[in-house]
């Protein structure tokens, strides 16, 4: 799921050159919205196995906050990037309290959804089918993003903008529209990621500032702005965490930052720099 957050981060960075600290907040918002949507839908007679529909709808619905936030960020377009970074930090602070105001300080969990699809045994260990579904969903979204960026007109425009915004603008591309759509897509990736993960966990308000650190790690390892890098980076971080926990739990958090710094030092552009954005 880290992949989706990171992918959103990548997309927005790649195109708009905005590094969004608030992507973790979108993730948290998506998680809370997912719980609310599913609880509401189940309460209105939605059969349990269809809960993912409500879940995704909840996550997607929240993407409506994309355009206004993009508008907000655009007010300082053209100023130093550092200011945009700070503005997204302001969003982090505000959204954390918005969550507490709407959903309260207690963790919110989704009941009766996680094991609706049962469990399977893979290579000797038991895995809930839902976990496999999430992995598959991650893959599908990755693939979809790839196709969107390489095969569609919108994708070509986005890539052209990422490449060189002046030329794209000169060629008659409506920059504002592209930015708005790209940013909203980035938000949606985050909120859907948050919604998808929630059946297996619980939504807590501090997940926003926790996940951002992991998402950064993924982005740095994969290379800023690279979609393929986000996917690989997420895998590397996941494997690294699991490996550290299994062998030497003390270094779990440390290991990730060491790798991040190592990558930054040795291959500053990331392991997958140059791959298609």
């Amino acid at each position: 799921m880290l992949f989706l957050v990171a992918a959103g981060l990548q997309l927005v960075f790649g195109v708009q050159k905005i590094l969004n600290l608030a992507c973790g907040s979108f993730y948290a918002l998506g998680a809370y919205a997912g719980v609310s949507a599913v609880t509401w839908a189940l309460g209105h007679g939605l059969p349990a196995p269809l809960f993912v529909v409500a879940l995704l709808a909840g996550g997607l619905a929240l993407a409506v906050i994309g355009p206004p936030l993009e508008r907000l960020l655009r007010t300082i377009d053209g100023r130093d990037e550092s200011f945009q970074l700070l503005l997204t930090f302001a969003l982090v602070l505000m959204l954390e309290d918005v969550i507490r105001f709407v959903w309260g300080p207690a963790p919110v969990q989704l009941r009766g959804a996680y094991l609706v699809y049962g469990q399977v045994t893979v290579a000797g260990s038991t895995v809930p089918v839902y976990n496999l579904f999430v992995i598959a969903a991650g893959g599908v979204i990755a693939l979809g993003m790839g196709l969107l960026l390489t095969r569609t007109r919108f994708g070509r425009i986005v890539r052209a903008t990422a490449e060189n915004r002046e030329v794209a603008a000169a060629l008659g591309v409506d920059m504002r529209r592209v930015y708005r759509r790209v940013f909203t897509l980035g938000v949606a990736l985050g909120t859907v990621g948050g919604a998808l993960v929630i059946p297996a966990t619980a939504a807590v308000s501090e997940m926003a500032i926790e996940v951002i650190v992991d998402a950064f790690a993924v982005v740095v390892i994969g290379g800023l702005g690279s979609m393929r890098g986000a996917f690989a980076g997420a895998l590397i971080v996941g494997v690294l965490k699991a490996g550290a926990i299994a062998t030497w739990p003390e270094v779990e958090m440390l290991a990730i930052y060491v790798v991040v710094i190592g990558v930054l030092v040795l291959r500053p552009a990331g392991l997958f720099a140059g791959a298609t954005p």
């Binding site: 009941r111 996680y114 038991t126 297996a200 966990t201 807590v204 965490k241």
Partner: protein, 424 residues
């Protein structure tokens, strides 16, 4: 800006001087002036639900006391501030003491904050009644003989009780154990206490995995995978926050709940979120010092549970009782000291003296402060069951109780010296 700041100082300084003057010339009004109690309750982050719970207990206590005429005719007034990082909370404490001039402070949960506040309470000469956060380091190393701080029960009580129950129920029935505990002093102390007691009981356990997820973690998949690989007979965990149900959910998803024994010393902190769908029957589950559905609960406790359920649509947990007790203990101590002082409002030193050894009726029965300022209370643990009709979460049956006289190290003894000195 510069001049405004100076003006600000002069102005506020003047206003404050005027305010203190007013208090000084009006001693006759002091009787009717409210008693100010500062409250430090966490509002954000992983501690927030617990802070909220403690605050509810405090507010309920204050409402009842005020409805009955207050303390010696003075109403209680709560000044609520947020417990956050140690640095900010120390500043809040100073504000309560210096600016609001409160009579006492109640609150604080986090161990780091507890460690920081202990010395500050002494420096500020302000009574501090802590809700929680009584770590060995805080008590032994840093505050051996506090005057103004009154601590909650030791953090390790629950591990001690759960370990005794483990021995009672499962001795000889398990060999390999794994620990998954939040990565801070509380988790480490509890795990160490558990292992020490296993050894003391002659249970030759083998540790196959020791995991330390960060407090408040939301993803345990890697930990659960490590546990599944280690295949322990028993898993010990002292998680108490919102991470508890997440861990259980993911452990259940990976099939760990089928055959492994679970000892959840403090899961009762979030008991309503331990849904039947993923929390197994037959696990040892601790509720700290308050069990919402105790068959022998007092009328007081029943009233509180009813009020809590009606107002918040939730069943209360132990932190409410910690908060409640700090307030009634303060009231009892003031009244006790007043009797000695001829019905006048007693001095702070007299209140402190009265607090030492004070006994008051808490929601879970009588509680008291020991002479060394540590709380004494009753703990509730038991074996989880799904056989309750009204709830979608697990409860315990039978409910076992132990008092701190059985499971808390006595004054002046090291925890492990005490455990090793047991006769078993």
């Amino acid at each position: 800006m510069r001049t405004t700041r100076r003006q600000f100082f002069t102005l506020t300084g003047g206003a404050l001087a005027a305010a203190s003057l007013r208090l000084d010339v009006a001693p006759a009004l002091a009787q009717a002036a409210p008693v100010k109690l500062g409250i430090l309750a966490a509002k954000a982050g992983v501690l927030a639900p617990v802070g909220e719970s403690g605050l509810r207990g405090v507010q309920w206590a204050a409402e009842r006391i005020n409805a009955a005429g207050g303390i010696l005719g003075r109403k209680l007034e709560l000044v609520i501030e947020e417990e956050s990082s140690p640095k900010d909370t120390v500043e809040r404490f100073r504000k309560l003491a210096l600016h609001d001039k409160v009579d006492a402070v109640s609150g604080a949960i986090s161990t780091g904050v507890g460690l920081a506040l202990g010395p500050v309470a002494e420096e500020m000469k302000t009574i501090w009644l802590s809700w929680d956060a009584t770590t060995q380091k805080g008590v032994e190393e840093t505050m051996p003989k506090p005057k103004y701080s009154f601590r909650s029960t030791d953090n390790e009580c629950e591990a001690v009780m759960a370990s005794i129950l483990t021995g009672r129920h499962w001795k000889g029935k398990f060999k390999t154990v794994a620990g998954i505990n939040p990565d801070y002093s509380y988790g480490r102390d509890n795990w160490a206490a558990f292992l020490a007691i296993m050894k003391k009981y002659g249970m030759d356990v083998q540790v196959v995995s020791e995991l330390w997820p960060k407090l408040g973690a939301t993803d345990f998949t890697a930990h659960v995978a490590a546990l599944a690989q280690a295949k322990p007979d028993l898993i010990f965990s002292c998680h108490w926050a919102g991470d508890t149900p997440i861990f259980m959910k993911q452990a259940h998803g990976a099939g760990l709940t089928k055959s492994t024994k679970f000892v959840l010393t403090t899961g009762g902190g979030v008991h309503e979120s331990l849904k039947k769908e993923f929390t197994p029957e037959g696990a040892i589950l601790g509720y700290n010092t308050f069990y919402f559905e105790h068959a022998r609960a007092s009328a007081l406790a029943r009233e509180f549970v009813r009020w809590h359920q009606e107002k918040f649509k939730e069943w209360p947990n132990y932190e409410s009782d910690h908060g409640y007790f700090t307030i009634v203990a303060y009231k009892t101590a003031v009244e006790r000291a007043a009797r000695a002082a001829g019905s006048k409002w007693p001095s702070q030193d007299a209140i402190i003296q009265a607090l030492e050894g004070v006994e008051a009726e808490s929601l879970s029965g009588p509680r008291r402060y020991r002479e060394d300022h540590i709380m004494e209370a009753t703990f509730f643990q038991g074996i989880t069951t799904h056989r309750n009709k009204a709830y979608d979460f697990v409860t315990i049956d039978p409910v076992e109780t132990m008092t701190t006289r059985q499971i808390q190290k006595p004054s002046g003894v090291g925890l492990y010296d005490w455990i090793n000195g047991w006769k078993v």
